[in-house]
Amino acid sequence: MQKVVSINLNGNAYQLDENGYETLRHYLGRAEQQLASNPDRAEIVADLEQAIADKCQRYLGPSKTVVSAAEIERIVAEMGPVEPPAAGADGAGADGAGDAGTAEPAAPPKDATRRLYRIPSGAMIAGVCTGLAAYFRLDVAIVRIAFAGAALLTQGAAIIVYVVIMFVVPEAGTPEEQAAAGGLPFNAREVIDRVGKRSAETTRALRRQLRRQQRAWRRHGWPPGAPVVYGPQALVMLPIFGLVQMALFLVAVALLISLVNTGAILTWELPPDVPVWAAALILLVAYQIIVSPIRAARQRATYPPGAVEPGAMAFWNAVGWLIGLAFAIWLASNHLPEIRDFLQRLPELFRDFADTMRDLFTRAR
């Protein structure tokens, strides 16, 4: 659900959802900035507002009174960036390259603003690895092996990363998107909208699957692996270890976010020759080392020696955890600017890492 904002575009009232409003405000703010020294600024902005209002009208009807964020994005893209006309004959050449984007929206993307897509063709699961490979200009096999290795090392945490990427990153649907697999700059707001939509779809799919599973269980009895008998000490121990582990997890996340956003862990600045990704990696490994005895103790407290967590329960535990995590990220990126920052910086961080790895590989050869 989104709040609706009423706006006045050159004398016409329109209702936008909150994200659309932000996009539009940003666009018009930039327009005013570009025209700061233009004596006709007010008039041009009024004309722009009128043009936007006309375009909004296209999307509205008797049963649709709110212009959505996606529609606003489309309108703003149609309008194109506002730029003052070249001052003289020489001005035309000076920023000719910058104009390529305006005159021709399909101009080839610059390398620096490649965009992360999932690429379904050649994908094994959801195209995350193929997309990452295209984005980092690496071989898919290397990315897959790295992912599998990371999954083993982190006891599955990398799988969570995979699922998060699956949710957050759009699929390269059209041929243009696939060819670009990195056209426009990474846009946090779009990502957030997409997660909202996708999570609804996934919830539906999971519910279907759960119902199917339940029918199967009713027919064939419960899955093998009898329900676990919790030891008497479990009731006492579980919350303590659980709380400690949760607290450590939160601390690690806070440190990681501070590291990625500011390049410093709380107030401690990194030495200049240590890249941020390396510090992040060290932080993650340290967290794993600190947390592993607690995890082991928790395991022992929960299950009697020798007992194995039943497969189905472990699976649904993991699914619940993933959904919770995806939801928490979506919520946080909607409300906390730090998290939005963090998510936007992540691709850059991974690219740094990939670049360093590639350098290492090429030098080794």
Binding site: N10, G11, N12, A31, Q34, L35, N38, P39, D40, E43, I44, D47, L48, Q50, A51, D54, Q57, E78, M79, G80, P81, V82, E83, P84, P85, A86, A89, A92, G93, G96, A97, D99, A100, T102, A103, E104, A107, P108
Partner: protein, 107 residues
């Protein structure tokens, strides 16, 4: 094919000339100009056109008048001023000369 940037520079330099031509042929409003350009290599967006129109009006090349439209609010219809017409004539002539020069070079 030369780099995209060079074409973009040429297009940008010629845009004002094309607008003069379009406005000279018909009394138009901004959306008409965009529509007329959209099928050409000179496809332009509002963000570029509006500031340019306002500059051309300040330079005294064109002027507009408000006209009621049957759908929606009144629109600004642009037409050339005397100065705009004489500049268009100059540009036409320059363009012909330029074409002749380009055609003769390298022969």
């Amino acid at each position: 094919m030369p780099p995209e940037g060079k074409f973009a520079a040429i297009r940008k330099g010629l845009l004002e000339y094309l607008i003069l031509k379009i406005v000279a042929a018909n009394k138009v409003y901004a959306a008409d100009i965009l529509k007329r350009l959209s099928t050409t290599d000179f496809a332009t967006q509002e963000g570029t056109l509006y500031p340019l129109l306002s500059k051309m009006r300040r330079d005294g090349l064109l002027d507009y008048e408000w006209q009621e439209s049957d759908a929606g609010p009144p629109r600004k219809y642009y037409e050339l001023t005397a100065k705009g017409r004489s500049q268009l004539a100059e540009l036409n002539e320059y363009w012909r000369d330029l074409n002749a020069v380009i055609g003769q070079l390298g022969k």
